[in-house]
Amino acid sequence: MADLGKLALAIALILAAYSIFANVYGARRNSPDFLASARHAIWAMCAMVTIAMAALWNGLLTSDFTLDYVASHSSTTLPTIYKITSLWGGQEGSLLFWSWLLTIFTSIAAFQNRRRNPEIAPYALAVMAVVAIFFLAMLNFVTRPFSPISPVPVEGADLNPLLQNYWMAIHPPSLYTGYVSSTAPFAFGAAALITGKLDDAWIRATRRWAIFSWFFLTLGNLFGARWAYEVLGWGGYWAWDPVENAAFMPWLVMTAYLHSVMIQERKDMLKVWNLALIGLAFALTIFGTFLTRSGVISSVHSFTQSGLGPYFLSFLIVVVIAYTALLIFRSGVLRSPAEIESYLSREAAFLFNNLVLVGIAFAVFWGTIFPVLSEAVRGVKITVGPPFFNKVNGPLALGLIFLMGVGPLIAWRRSTPANLARNFAIPLILGIATGAIVFLEGVRQWYALSGFSLAAFVAGTIIVEFARGIGARRHLAGETAARATANLIAKNNRRYGGYIIHVGVIVAFAGIIGSAFFKIDVKKSVRAGESFAVGPYSIHYLKLEESADAHIESAIAQVEVTRGDEEVALMTPGRVFYKRPQQPATKVAIRSTPLSDLYVVLAGFDEDTNTATFEVFLTPLVFWLWAGGLLMAIGTVIVMWPNVRERAAIAAALGRTAEDQIATEPAPGGQ
């Protein structure tokens, strides 16, 4: 099987190279045969990488320790589910997984565009194949997943215990899906630049791809945060570690891109900006991979030095230079005739929202690479930690939330005072009222006050929008409120799905404020039978129970939580010792309610004195971070949902143009 995998990867590399030639040659010669041949090569390439994936999975599932990768990342006692996920638990496997996703997405793009976008699609597919060549070359020559090991060990080194977790099983695939699918819009943007077909065909061809990518970047970041929260045992979910930043930056830029393409579709503005953004988003995914594999930046949970850094950096530099050169080369053609007329316009709100998003991304970038910069410039490594990121991004996030409220309601081109009053009176009142209530509740931090007020302001704008749409439907079509709501969303899924995403963002934002500003942290060593107070709760340590199986040993503390005289919960925080890598891990006990999470960590224990050390966090509102994330996901699914009208329009357009072979997606209705 391993030899088959090796062979398949070699063939895949050749097929990728051939598909570039066939696509470019076919497009230049206008030869449908060559283009068809290129498509087939792409599909065959995908099949080959699939075979390699199957071969590695087979090795992991059968504990084939002749393979270095299997011996290093699995063991016979590892639960089957983690044998499967250990495919992306290590360097070689995760790059193979990346390549697999890339070839799948390239295949889908080839299928989607077999009749559509004949001018740019061949070049876009060629660009995707260039990216595939890079990854396949790495797998063939630099970091081989099927290297043998000698002597063959009897037992594997096992998967890192921190990765033996549900969230870690789904976090990397989500993030990788988000990363890799950004290749499609990037490739179509590059193809538009290469061919000079700079209308918004490339944006329309990849709108779903961009949203798809954003969806998975969002989930990937949230799953990663959730994993950190449940597994790492420090009571938080985000530490501005370089690894986290690497995943966050593409998300920010992609968010900016999804907003600014609306301006191009509607107003034919920001063409250069959109092309630059998608190039930046893609470059940041490669940069993130470089960052996490190179060891250039020290991170507490980094992937450490692996020698891949120079390859990724070279690839990144080539991509950035080539793409920038294309942008400069085409900049004359890209000048748009339209211009922004007023600060009080939707165009301006979107432009500023883009600036702030990219500004946050830049601040994160700057803070992440600061140690390297300072060492190069001043000869001494200086780091900036979480306080830096919070200080910079805190105010910027407030600005962003404000623009999020303004953007969707303000008029295009130019707003009149009457328009502003009509749209923003209710949201403003809601925001101020919320601020007043929170103030009266005793909150004095200016950031929390303004954050909650702004969140309520945004909620107000969305309520106004929904109320208007529902009201109009009830009035015109005589529908019931529930039916009107359902129809409103179904018929304008992009717009109202977008609002639901916005609700998710402000709900998550409220959760972040609550957990960032009002967290209580108590550390205490107690004997069995003793108790201590955390906020309104009393934590009563009952006893310690120890157990063991072939894979792990565990010590679980039983803790009774009471509030006043009422028993609230029996919690079981513990410590787990993984036998194979000889590594301890924390098993956090969390009791989550909408008001606050009680988070209990057994930080240590001493059997001789019957003492256990606990760290307990009482974190208000953190529940809403996850709830908001779920809402964002639901909203995104609504946005991506195929719209019946849109599909009919595509079918009509395809029927109309099938004969002269210039099928394109129709111009979308709505936003």
């Binding site: 063409k271 250069v272 600060y343 200086i382 780091t383 900036v384 910079v392 240590g604």
Partner: protein, 156 residues
Amino acid sequence: MRVRPRFLIGTALIVAVIAYLIVSAVSSTSEYFLTVSEVNSRQAELAGQPLRIAGRVKSGPIGWDPATLTLSFEIVPIPDPTNAKDGAASADASIAKVSASEPLSYHVICAGQPKPDMFAVGRDVIVEGRLGKDGVITATQVMTSCPSKYRRKQAQ
């Protein structure tokens, strides 16, 4: 995109605000990130400053008082990976080597924090805190570096 001059003003304003936030936050939150050897060579000027120090936990007794959550240990320089080809598998051996040739070490006291999961002799750690005039590092936090997900022990 053509933007009227007054939009350039708005744009410039936003860019300036972002730049100001970054610059001011850098100056108020930055810490030196040093290795144990670097700390040694500039000890005088570093005293009292917020530092992050990368080092390795020296073999020998580790003090841990669960009642006060006080951890005390010695850190030594992390050996250069190009010299120590044995890597993580025999961290103790390389420590012994380093300790023999270079008796450089600092005493670290960290109070009020639980002992990190992976804390052990021979583990690479990052210590956040201040260096006292007496050469003792008073840490606010001790973080253990993950012994790399992406690199296995070099057995051969």
